[in-house]
């Protein structure tokens, strides 16, 4: 039996109640929107990528459920200050962790991502955890169209 307490860990609930980096971003030079039609959740991600490809600032607006909100909030914290190439690698590891037998992304400052490892046991919630990540990649690729999980 999968205990839902593995899914709703304290850190996730904390980021749901008080999301970090929530709101518009004045310095934004990249952004994208993501949408999950299953639950109606929407996220808008704002990025400031400098000339060296480093994500200097990240913020988000929208979201809905605890998993998607916490995922956006934690993403904004742990990816800030990292180069774009590294961020893409982290997403691949994160995706593996919640969909197959992958381990949590390794590296300094990435430990928080491990709280989402419980999502693996709740397949219908994988899209909630990954919505903001797909939106991030869309922003980095400078694609205009909204990301949709379906």
């Amino acid at each position: 039996m999968n205990d839902f307490r593995d899914l709703y860990q304290e850190m996730i609930l904390d980021h749901y109640r008080s999301p970090r980096n929530f709101g518009p971003l004045e310095s934004q030079n990249l952004s994208a929107r993501g949408y999950n039609p299953l639950c109606g959740d929407e996220v808008e991600l704002h990025l400031y990528r400098d000339g060296d490809g480093i994500l200097r600032d990240i913020s988000f607006e929208g979201c809905g459920c605890a998993i998607s909100t916490a995922s956006a909030s934690i993403l904004s914290e742990v990816l800030k200050g990292r180069p774009e190439n590294e961020v893409r690698g982290i997403f691949e590891e994160f995706h593996k962790m919640i969909t197959e037998e992958g381990t949590a992304p390794e590296g300094e400052g990435l430990a928080k991502l491990k709280v989402f490892s419980g999502v693996k046991n709740f397949p219908v919630r994988v899209k909630c955890a990954t919505l903001v990540w797909h939106t991030l990649i869309q922003a980095l690729n400078e694609k205009e169209e909204e990301v949709c999980t379906e």
């Binding site: 609930l13 299953l38 959740d41």
Partner: protein
């Protein structure tokens, strides 16, 4: 509504619930270590063993194609299939079984109307009227039709209580209104709409009327003559039958005048490369081999429903809905969405500070199956300023203990999210 009079009769519930529940194999299981509490019958009902046996019997004993075989098995299958048409006509108090067209479900039935008589009747500058609480299946086909024909889609508004506002109906229905398509019972918030009044106003203006009865047929007696509608659609899988079975009932003279929808086998009388003549109704609208097993399963489902009686089912479910509303009102943080004058099938609610999706996940872990989302009624969700709700919906097998399990599981959600 006259429905009320049966239900308020004392002792209206004559249901032997333990026996009824024992007829549903799928209910007899544990989910994550807890007994299944199935509160998602508005999405699809569970199937009684008689339905499973009827479908199995077709495949094991007389599997064959219908309407064309000269052999015994085909004769048996054809007779069974056509007998279901009689059962559907009886269910809807329709005088002529030829007015019953089998479809894959409500969605296909509504699309059939929109694509045939809809295209003929609705032209540039005309209007199609629906309501604010329609399921997407009764919005999108009309929207597509209006876009194609240059017509306008208009909407009967909904009050904060979750009832349609019918005071301004005379302004909404005019000689421009060619079709009025209304859901009988809201799948999202459980409102029973006063469709008789709407149909009456529509007919006075010469508009065609289409009733989406997907959420009413499983819960109450329907009389198409009394309603006065032109078309009525429902899905077999929401009335204890299999997926893939559905019905479009239409006025015989309209069906007869309508052009076919899809071309193929079974819907023809003669075919040559120069000209095809079509079969009579209803076969004109049933091109190709239908889902024979599903239709036969639907027949068994209607037998099941008739044996208990829709009056008894309505009374039983009304009691549970009233109990659930009262108990949910006692739970702090729960807000029920909509307080309609008359309710059937469903209750929608939200829980303060917790997204419906999270509520749904935790309820599932306690064995409680509900729907969390927009219920294919996004415009209605928007009307209430929501993106999603939690919906508990009931069936003949639902019991008081289900309501208690729901409330206990919500308390658990509140502990996690406190």
């Amino acid at each position: 509504m006259n429905r009320q009079s049966h239900t308020d009769e004392p002792g209206g519930t004559s249901l032997d619930l333990a026996t009824v529940r024992s007829l549903f194999p799928c209910l007899q299981q544990q989910i994550h270590g807890n007994p299944l509490v199935y509160l998602d019958s508005a999405a699809t009902t569970q199937k009684p063993i008689s339905v499973l046996e009827a479908m199995d019997g077709y495949y094991r004993e007389y599997c064959s194609n219908i309407h064309r075989g000269i052999h015994t098995l085909s004769e048996r299958a054809t007779a069974k299939y056509e007998d279901v048409r009689n059962k559907v006509a009886a269910l809807l108090r329709a005088p002529d079984p030829r007015s019953v067209v089998f479809t894959s479900g409500t969605t296909e039935a509504i699309n059939l109307v929109a694509r045939t008589i809809g295209r003929e009747r609705v032209g540039s500058g005309d209007e199609v009227l629906i309501s604010a609480m329609e399921h997407h299946a009764n919005i999108v086909p009309w929207q597509m039709l209006c876009e194609e024909q240059g017509a306008t889609l208009r909407v009967i508004p909904c009050s904060d209580e979750g009832d349609l506002i019918l005071d301004d109906l005379v302004d909404l229905i005019s000689e421009k209104t060619r079709i009025v398509a209304i859901g009988h019972v809201s799948n999202a918030i459980g409102t029973v709409n006063d469709i008789k009044r709407i149909i009456h106003s529509a007919r006075e203006m010469g508009a065609l009327t289409v009733v989406d009865a997907a959420q009413s047929v499983p819960h109450m007696n329907i009389d198409v003559e009394d309603l006065g509608c032109d078309f009525l659609a429902f899905s077999g899988h929401k009335v204890y039958g299999p997926t893939g079975s559905g019905v479009l009932w239409g006025r015989l003279e309209l069906l007869e005048a309508m052009k076919p929808w899809q071309g193929g086998g079974d819907m023809i009388r003669t075919v040559s490369f120069e000209k095809t003549t079509y079969a009579d109704v209803p076969l004109k609208f049933e091109a190709g081999t239908p889902d024979i097993a599903a239709v036969i399963g639907l027949g068994a489902a209607l037998d099941f429903v008739n044996e208990i009686g829709l009056d008894a089912i309505y009374a039983h479910e009304k009691e549970l809905l009233d109990e659930a509303v009262a108990k949910l009102d006692q739970v702090s943080g729960v807000q029920i969405v909509g307080r309609p004058n008359q309710r059937a099938s469903s209750i929608s609610f939200v829980l303060d500070g917790v997204h419906p999706h999270d509520v749904g996940t935790i309820l599932d872990q306690k064995g409680v199956a509900v729907r969390a989302g927009h219920h294919c009624a996004m415009p209605l969700m928007k009307r209430f300023g929501l993106v999603a709700t939690i919906r508990a919906s009931f069936g003949v097998y639902s019991e008081s203990e289900d309501v208690d399990s729901l409330v206990e599981a919500i308390d658990e959600v509140k502990v996690i999210f406190r």
